[in-house]
Amino acid sequence: MKLFEYQAKQVFSEAKIPVPRGITAGPGEVTKAVGNIGLPCVLKAQVLQGGRGKAGLISVVRTEEEAVSEASRICSVPGVNLLLVEEFLSIQEELFVSVTCSPVTAELVILASRYGGIDIETLAEESPEKLIREPVDIFRGLQGFQARHIAYAMGLEGQAAKQTAGIIQRLFSLYREFDAELAEINPLCITESGEVTAGDAKLVIDDSCLDRHPQFTMRPEHFDDPTEYEAALEGIPYLKFDGDISLMCAGAGLTTAVFDLVHYQGGTVANYLEFGGPNYRKAMKAMELCLRNPSKVILVVTFGTIARADVMAQGIVDAVRELKPDRPVITCIRGTHEEEAVEILSQAGLEPLFDTEEAVRRAVAAAAGEVHV
């Protein structure tokens, strides 16, 4: 789960990484917050997308009137409900530091550059020598000499080098402490007065470990669509699209393959929904989520092991009885106890298909309004 900037900055601040003075404010609280922080100051929309500067979601304001009008402009952008009001920094230089991991070597990796504040992927591609990469043994952890090496390799000197090395060590510690997938500061600012401060803060926490960090909860803002949020609360992976066919499949790999097949066949997907694994008894909820969509067909494809075919077939039959879907339901349910599944579906008047590609063809035809004979 990606944290909002203000949440990440609070974590950084508690870990003794300097951050600008700031207060969060809703649309009606901006005047008070600005009074508290002082002018000039910066208004930053608290949204999870990147590229906020280019999208006009960050604004430097110099007067109270400007603060009010800019705040109302930014808050009128869909999805913006909260601002971070921060002290204005006179910036001399923008650096970049990041902690991530390498799945291949199983090491943690510090990435750093003197040239922060810009698209770091472009920098890595066009001038790789400007990006410093320091692997860290996960058991030994980041040593002081490594942090110092990174700071000096960035070309920093004196207090700036010392402070940056310290910040890198603290960033590494919080990466471990917070079960992070990514901890990043871009830009890490050197101010006119020579202080090193986190201009932005990015922290992504491993979804498998959210219960260890209960202060951060999944919020509707983490999702593109309210139904995606509702599905996530049930633990059901769900993505909303604009097409005709609701996928109600089991297994991430198979659902993705069916998603491709629908497109190859000229169809469109209304939603990706996967109710395999621990969710295979949740057919009712899964179908309810599919029906929340104005889709034309529900396509069920499974080939499960632990997710038993008979249990899923019964779940579908019960869901159809209870929810009375206003659109065709196409079923291709295979795997453990598939013979019983065939029986259950047939008795309920649902045709048990056995071939994935045939099921996809039927769904695309049904979505196009063709009745299959």
Binding site: C101, P103, V104, A106, E107, L108, E121, D137, I138, F139, R176, D179, E181, D206, D207, S208, C209, P237, L239, C249, A250, G251, A252, G253, L254, T255, T256, A257, F259, D260, L261, H263, Y264, Y272, E274, G276, G277, P278, T302, F303, G304, T305, I306, A307, R334, G335, T336, E338, T356, E357
Partner: protein
């Protein structure tokens, strides 16, 4: 002698008394796997299908010999269980749980690499050599999927494995060994790291890779083939060709970010290395027939 687990391989089961552990251990034994002993802290003295249960790996290894360990514990306990198996000198480990913390997965992979152990998983069904042995959870009784043969299979996805393997069998072939490396971002063992075993395995004539968007495992296979590490024919199915960037499609590792991990890039790399790719499951039949010759 199948690679990884054969009828002779003595398997320890950690977490043998849990609901899933007991259910699938029983199936492992029924299928012919040699389960030597079980481990569940606090349950020493119990038994499952005649297999004795011990408090710890150390206690079990005092009375039995084991070549491999099958781990059925919940995700938060996997790291401890893997380290316990490594501590006991076991160097072949399968762990199936979904939801292993990323940092634990990194520690597991790092520890395994430094002592030359193979840890398969997590977030997988495990490993099976049909007709011989299995470490994990497979509906081996479905014969249109789990028929013995000469095609080795490596996969990131359980559900898609059944789908693609059914195509392998319907094309007239069967499976030598199937390795589920799993759907996590940091699997214990990567595709390319299994290739030397498949290369050396006399029972494997060709390998099928079932991949998906995200990560670099498929590209590493292409590289290994280019480097001459693997010389047998390879076919691949990669899911997620039409997946939009930035959307995570189910598996933790299945996401395209910053333009990296796209199926198009993987297919390009694999085809440049001479791998045949199937864009839909049914085409896997044509790939295999073309590679291995004309069974009906």
């Amino acid at each position: 002698m199948s690679l990884f687990a054969d009828t002779e391989t003595r398997v320890l089961v950690q977490g043998i008394t849990g609901k899933e552990g007991a259910f699938w251990s029983t199936h492992m034994i029924t299928m012919g796997t040699r389960v030597a002993a079980g481990v569940t802290p606090g349950k020493e003295g119990q038994n499952l299908e005649g297999v004795r249960v011990y408090h710890s790996v150390r206690n079990a290894l005092k009375e039995h010999e084991a070549d491999a360990s099958m781990i059925f514990v919940p995700p938060r306990f996997v790291k401890d269980a893997v380290f316990e198996a490594l501590d006991g000198g076991i160097r072949k480990i399968v762990t199936v749980a979904e939801g292993i913390p990323l940092h634990d997965a990194l520690e597991i992979r790092s520890a395994a690499r430094s002592c030359g152990a193979q840890v398969i998983g997590g977030n997988t069904s495990g490993v099976i050599s049909p007709g011989k042995a299995m470490m994990g959870m497979f509906p081996y009784w479905i014969k249109r999927v789990y028929t013995p043969g000469t095609v080795g299979i490596m996969t990131r996805s359980g559900s898609l494995t059944n789908e693609i393997t059914a195509m392998v069998v319907s094309a007239g072939f069967g499976v030598s060994t199937l390795i589920g490396v799993g759907g996590d971002t940091v699997p214990g063992t990567r595709f390319a790291e299994m290739l030397p075993s498949f290369e050396a395995d006399p029972e494997t004539e060709a390998v099928v890779i079932i991949g998906e968007l995200g990560g670099t495992m498929e590209e590493e296979v292409a590289e290994a083939i280019q480097d001459g590490i693997f010389t047998k024919p390879v076919a691949a199915f990669i899911g997620g060709r039409t997946a939009p960037e930035g959307k995570r499609m189910g598996h933790a590792g299945a996401i395209i970010t910053g333009g990296k991990g796209s199926v198009q890039g993987k297919v390009k790399a694999l085809e440049a290395a001479g791998v045949m790719t199937a864009d839909r499951p049914s085409r896997m039949k044509d790939c295999l027939r073309e590679m291995l010759g004309g069974t009906p």
